[in-house]
């Protein structure tokens, strides 16, 4: 049964026999395909468990941010209270178009939140890795960069050169030697 191409709405099996994986849904005791793709099965993780049936997509899906997902975004503009960003990738998948997000000043660092200055954390044009903490208001997702591996991953100095991080709060232009302040992401 694996490897068969299925269309949305195709029955995949009984919910009593299968666990519904990605690309499927359950309705009145049956597991159905919800996307176009190929059927795949995974054996049960533990004895007595049910095997999982899922549908694998052909083409990369365009991502939508969800609470808890790690996103890559570009800083669009700043004000003392929040940075507006454009979310370009969710995990490894690019978004079809940018989603708007906001990093509030209290969500930048985990400690000494009251001392954080927006202009010492981000600059417009920086590429930032962050985590979605809530679906936010009407338009924007709320993001946070409190974790060590979150923060600025790519930034250019005032002279236009790509900077390298030299500490958790400073980046340096390798050509001019100028040091600028950022909330740096811990390099992997």
């Amino acid at each position: 049964m694996s490897g068969v191409v299925v269309t949305p709405g195709r029955r995949l099996g009984l919910a009593a026999e299968y666990e519904a994986g990605s690309g499927t849904y359950v309705r009145s005791g049956m597991v159905y395909a919800s996307i176009l793709g190929t059927r795949a099965e995974e054996p049960a993780g533990d004895a007595g468990g049910k095997p999982t049936v899922r549908v694998e997509r052909r083409n990369a899906k365009f991502a939508v941010p969800a609470v808890g997902s790690e996103v890559l975004c570009r800083v669009v503009r700043l004000n003392p209270r929040a940075a507006s960003v454009a979310i370009m990738m969710v995990g490894e998948t690019p978004c079809q178009e940018d989603f708007q997000g906001i990093v509030r000043v209290q969500d930048i660092r985990a400690t000494e939140k009251d001392l954080v200055q927006m202009t010492e954390s981000f600059r417009p044009g920086d590429v930032v890795r962050a985590e979605v903490i809530s679906l936010g208001d009407q338009r924007s997702y709320y993001l946070a960069t409190v974790r060590n591996e979150h923060g600025v991953v790519f930034a250019q100095s005032a002279a236009g050169n790509t900077m390298v991080p030299i500490s958790w709060e400073e980046m340096q232009d390798p050509r001019t030697g100028a040091v600028e302040k950022r909330k740096c992401a811990k390099p992997f």
Partner: protein, 271 residues
């Protein structure tokens, strides 16, 4: 960029998404393009004529992934009092949000207006003899409404639109019309073709990132364009139109090379 290479392992797709300019520069600086073409290479062009039976003339043109559909509807009107022996050719280019996420719904945007206007000036009177559209002097004439609908925008829509309009005009079958007691009667069984004065063939060259002159730019390359040069030749290889847009500078020698490349392309496609 080299400094950050170790910092973040950008997957190809991510790099393209986050640094489109750097992404293109990597290819262009190696004398190649992101889709593997050489700088002077055009994408494959496909022309299908006469696909739409609700229009008197029609064509579908694909340049790479760019797709436009052109349909010409012939209607009857009163000629302009200043030109009683002439009909009308009305050309409009439609760039809707369907063809690319860059366009918004509503009235035509700037690029659509510019394309419509330019094509109108290129064709009206120069390709179609408007006097041929006259049914009865001062009383009735044909108005040819040519609508060029872009269904997918992947760069170089102007070339596609010109090729599509040319093909649709060649496909156009105008019913024989007679003015009879104030009403125009047309006979679908007897149709005539227009005699086209010249057969236009376009070629667009784009200056990408102010440094690289490439033929037939696609959407990603057009985003970095600083200038573009449209060369339109007619069937005899004579220049019909040269149009340089944008602030980027294209040298005179380069312009001459572009004109040669356009002529070479036309003879290569066998037209």
């Amino acid at each position: 960029m080299a400094a950050t290479a170790g910092q973040v392992a950008f997957a190809m797709e991510a790099f393209r998404r986050i640094h489109p300019v750097e992404f293109q520069r990597r290819f262009l600086s190696q004398e190649t393009r992101h889709d593997g073409r050489a700088f002077g290479q055009f994408r494959a062009t496909q022309v299908v004529k006469g696909t739409i039976s609700s229009a008197q003339g029609s064509s579908t043109v694909r340049i790479g992934d760019t797709t436009v559909v052109c349909g010409i509807k012939a209607e009857v009107c009163e000629p302009d009092v200043r030109r009683p022996d002439e009909g009308y050719l009305v050309t409009n280019v439609d760039l809707s949000p369907m063809c690319s996420a860059r366009f918004r719904a509503g009235p035509p945007g700037e690029s659509a207006q510019v394309a419509s206007e330019h094509i109108f000036r290129l064709f009206s009177g120069h390709v179609v003899d408007l006097r041929e559209l006259c049914i009865e002097s001062g009383q009735a004439a044909w108005v040819l409404s040519a609508d060029i609908v872009c269904v997918r925008h992947d760069g170089n829509v102007l070339d596609a639109a010109i090729i599509a309009l040319m093909a649709a005009l060649e496909d156009l079958a105008l019913p024989r019309a007679t003015l009879d007691a104030g009403a125009v009667t047309a006979d679908r069984s007897a149709t005539t073709r227009l005699t086209l004065r010249r057969r236009l063939a376009p070629a667009t060259f784009t200056l990408v990132d102010d440094a690289y002159l490439v033929a037939d730019a696609d959407d990603a390359e057009e985003q970095l364009a600083t200038a573009s040069l449209l060369v339109v030749l007619d069937g005899d290889g004579r220049l019909a139109n040269v149009w340089k847009r944008g602030a980027g500078a294209i040298g005179r020698a380069d312009i001459a090379r572009c004109i040669e490349a356009a002529a070479a392309r036309i003879s290569a496609t066998g037209e």
